[in-house]
């Protein structure tokens, strides 16, 4: 099996080199992924493959390779060295951590290698990266809070299931929720629970919250969809489908639940659009064109039963 893989690989390399002889571009793109296992990043990596393959076909770049960061900043710091040794002279980077992954951006800046940061920023992205493409997570929190207000106009108590505390997406989504609900006297928070993006932890917290506050709980707002879909499934199973659960991401699973009516809504983070936008910047950056904006924001979208078909593929 490994032999077969190696053969296919060698063949692909050969084919790649034959195709690029005529194209003459010497740009080798390293696509340094955050990971290759969770649903959101699988979608993102898939979109990246499509877009980068297209650039190779057009002759805008010579070749590209995916490096798997395993959601670990140390791995990413090591991988950038592998990529540079492998001849990479352009980097598309999805940081695992805002602080810990920062040396990757610094290393590229030192080596004079252009780098585009995607999805979340490192703390040195603004100074050192050529561009950043992402989404404003505060906006996602506000969309969730507004949806909850719309669904339960009379207000009540809500719980917030957080991602890993300290992660920028977690902090900003929480900020967005507070922007809307803290000002609203009809809504009261029963607490922010550190569920670490994880469905089972969120369900455990939800169980405790329901035991303690019972019918007063009107909504459970989650920082991601893994948690919101699991919590919604749980509350539905204990005859509390009146509780509004919502989260961010818009992966296939939650979208299917929206379509089936099991989940009210999700806030779609269009990761595919983020990475495609980032890759589309590559030719301009190579050509040395001045970018209109260094920060490119891809908007979040509220997906409900009305528009789910547009996004469920």
């Amino acid at each position: 099996m490994k032999k077969a893989l190696l053969l296919v690989l060698l063949f692909a390399l050969l084919l790649g080199s034959v195709m690029t002889v005529s194209a003459e571009s010497d740009i080798v793109v390293a696509y340094l992924a955050k990971n290759t296992v969770d649903a959101f990043h699988a979608t993102l990596n898939g979109a990246a493959k499509e877009a980068l393959d297209a650039l190779v076909d057009e002759g805008a770049i010579k070749s590209w390779q995916l490096y798997d960061g395993l959601t670990d900043p140390i791995t990413q710091v090591n991988l950038i060295e592998d990529a540079i040794n492998n001849g990479a002279n352009f980097v598309v980077f999805l940081p695992a951590e805002a602080e810990g992954s920062a040396p990757v951006v610094a290393r590229c800046a030192d080596a004079g290698i252009p780098i585009v940061v995607v999805n979340s920023k490192t703390n040195n992205t603004d100074e050192l990266a050529q561009a950043y493409v992402g989404s404003d997570d505060v906006e996602a929190g506000e969309i969730m809070a507004n949806y909850v207000k719309e669904m339960v106009p009379e207000g009540g108590k809500y719980a917030h299931m957080m991602g890993i505390v300290g992660n920028s997406a977690q902090m900003q989504r929480g900020e967005g929720i507070l922007n809307i609900l803290a000002e609203d006297p009809t809504w009261e928070s029963v607490g922010d629970f550190a569920a670490d993006w994880s469905a089972d932890k969120a369900v455990q917290f939800a169980t405790d919250v329901l035991t303690q506050y019972g019918d007063d709980i009107k909504a459970i707002i989650c920082d991601n969809d893994d948690m919101s879909s699991a919590v919604q499934a749980y509350v539905n199973s204990v005859d509390r489908s009146d509780i509004v659960c919502i989260g961010v991401d818009g992966n296939t699973g939650p979208l299917t639940m929206v379509k089936q009516g099991a989940l009210g809504a999700t806030v779609l983070q269009d990761g595919a659009a983020q990475v495609k936008t980032a890759i589309a910047l590559i030719p301009d950056i190579i050509a040395g064109k001045e970018l209109e904006e260094k920060d490119v924001m891809v908007p979040f979208t509220l997906v409900t039963i009305d528009n789910v078909d547009e996004y469920l593929k």
């Binding site: 040794n85 810990g100 040396p103």
Partner: protein, 324 residues
């Protein structure tokens, strides 16, 4: 036992051959990987890449050098991944309030050594299973990392700390020098001192060791303290490389350290190991990662290869043990 083996392999009788493969078989695998990668990837043998392989394995290598003592004495230490996180946050806090790099490094090593001591005391004093004790203590240690950092990661107050991770003497990066120093100290300690002989005696047969007057209690405790010290040193390298204090880091790093020991010929039954073997084990793991990255093979296959290699190494170990 060896009398019934009449056959010769490579001019050695069965027993000598077993010793030979145990001692040097893994070295041949490493050399074979070097040759294979040199042929298949034009970038592999470049000086930059070789130093990169070694700086990458430095962190795991230092962890493995501590782990090999624990496993040789019949234990296991699952808490070193969490110790990395605690060391990292300790360095972050110390640098914030003190700014002295040496001080921050020492404090992190001492804190990890103290938790190694606690692990060892619980295990040796109350005869609790090392697996369970360190499984539990890793939660305590990681939790503390979150407590002292407030759950947040933050950039280091003294940026020159990152020189430890990125600086070089000549062409050799500091992490490699640290790994070499730790390896030499570990070699002397395990192979040349009374303590080292005690470690082998305790791991080989704890009752026989007790009967022959070996200080079993402090030998077992000592191995966990060494593991803690190594985790502290590795934590310094790691923190310097990412230039940030990060409480959620180091998850699963114990697996690579254990894998390096096993691939390097350390027996899980205790009593058998070598420091050079462990070093070779960690280099092999580094070569798997680096080689497959250079060849563009996905990380899924890196995982599978590492798993298969560990199974292979354990199988050789079991087969040889059965024959003895």
């Amino acid at each position: 036992m060896s009398d019934k083996n009449g056959k010769n392999i490579l001019g050695m009788n069965q027993n000598d051959f077993n010793m030979f493969t145990r001692r040097y078989g893994i070295v041949f695998i490493m050399i074979a990987m070097f040759v294979l990668l040199s042929v298949t990837s034009p970038n592999f043998l470049k000086l930059n890449n070789i130093t990169n392989v070694f700086s990458t394995v430095a962190l795991n290598g230092v962890l493995a050098m501590g782990m090999v003592f624990v496993i040789t004495a019949g234990g296991i230490d699952l808490s070193i991944g969490s110790m990395l996180a605690l060391a990292s946050t300790t360095i972050g806090i110390t640098l914030k309030y003190n700014g002295n790099i040496l001080m921050a490094s020492l404090v992190s090593i001492i804190i990890c050594a103290i938790f190694g001591l606690l692990n060892g005391l619980l295990i040796a004093k109350f005869n609790m299973f090392p697996f369970v004790v360190t499984l539990a203590s890793q939660l305590v240690i990681r939790g503390l990392g979150y407590v002292i950092s407030g759950g947040y990661s933050f950039a280091l107050a003294n940026p020159s700390f990152s020189r430890i991770g990125l600086g070089k003497i000549g062409i050799i990066p500091y992490p490699i020098l640290i790994l070499l120093s730790v390896t030499i100290i570990a070699y002397i300690l395990l192979h040349w001192t009374k303590f080292g002989r005690y470690v082998y005696a305790v791991g080989g047969n704890i009752n026989a060791a007790t009967a022959s007057g070996v200080d079993v209690f402090w030998t077992r405790v000592g191995t966990f303290v060494i593991s803690g010290i190594c985790a502290g040193i590795a934590g310094i390298i790691m923190t310097a490389r990412i230039n940030a204090a990060q409480p959620n880091i180091g998850v699963g790093y114990e697996t690579d350290a254990i894998a390096a020991c096993v691939i390097g010929g350390t027996s899980f039954a205790g009593g058998i190991s070598t420091i050079p073997g462990t070093l070779v084990g960690i280099i092999i793991i580094g070569l798997i990662y680096n080689g497959m990255n250079l060849l563009g093979i996905s990380s899924y296959w890196q995982m599978i290869s590492k798993g298969l290699l560990i199974i292979g190494a354990v199988m050789i170990d079991t087969l040889i043990n059965k024959r003895r």
